[in-house]
Symmetry: C2
Amino acid sequence: MIVVMTRWLDPDEQRTWRAFLTASRALMATLDRELQRDAGMPHAYYEILVRLSEAPGRQLRMSDLADATGGSRSRLSHAVARLAESGWVRREDCPTDRRGQVAVLTDQGFEVLSGAAPGHVDGVRQHLFDPLSPAQIDQLRRISEALVAHLEPDHPTG
Amino acid sequence: MIVVMTRWLDPDEQRTWRAFLTASRALMATLDRELQRDAGMPHAYYEILVRLSEAPGRQLRMSDLADATGGSRSRLSHAVARLAESGWVRREDCPTDRRGQVAVLTDQGFEVLSGAAPGHVDGVRQHLFDPLSPAQIDQLRRISEALVAHLEPDHPTG
DNA sequence: GACATTTAGTTGAGCGTTCAACTATATGAG
DNA sequence: CTCATATAGTTGAACGCTCAACTAAATGTC
């Protein structure tokens, strides 16, 4: 039996990891707080509305919506239930698969989204893009895509 | 009254923002799941133990610990209560400020941390550092530090 | 065509975070 | 010294997410 020793993070890696942790956490916390304050919804719910608004007919199968927003089916089920209570999303039976459900963005949901979007985009600009140079923005895209490509293969969906 | 139009994200910015969102979410979700599975605690709690283990006497004032882990005092209060239930952290009155509390890492807490650390570091390596080139790792540090510098100034602490 | 397996989605409990309200002590102004 | 204010920390409710267990319908196999 061979036990491979853990290679610890050297000071530079330590610094990178903690900076990344602090930055992404602070960024998400800030955007979440802004969205909660201005639109009364967390960022995760905003994203659901965005994906629906972009889909043909402003509707999407639950599974597709779950994949698009990168969460479990369970999470989406709860989230759509909540969004339906608010009147921003409506559920419909899927005509082609009797197990399926389709989430539909309501007109009211579209209104709310339209009201929230400008402020949110301003926030993303202010907190993410403005502090970075064009070169850094490009680097961030490549880095993120490399990480996604590496992580995606096997992520459980609950 | 002047209303400044929101400048929407162009396709490139859109792509960068979504990639970053997906990457950081998937990364944190993965590390969280691994830590929960291997050590029975979420990443946020692991971080609390790490900070305590690094402090002189393995102890820290609640406020300092809250700042170090980048969360609200309320969150820390709840978290330390939970960690104390597990026997990993102990509270003590602060000798110099009678309002104050000191969180102390217990020997058992140190053991648990020592057991969890190798697996977690492996995870960070595997999911964050391995997919990136040395240049990208350097870029990520600079980008993260720029974002932190821009965000830190005013973040409410609840 | 019957039966095992897979897929779609829901449900409820448990947990961690947020928010607002609160207690208690420390600090600063007059 | 006194009173207003600021700081340290806690508390409970509301909320969103995870996990495991579950129902129901679709698909593959013999």
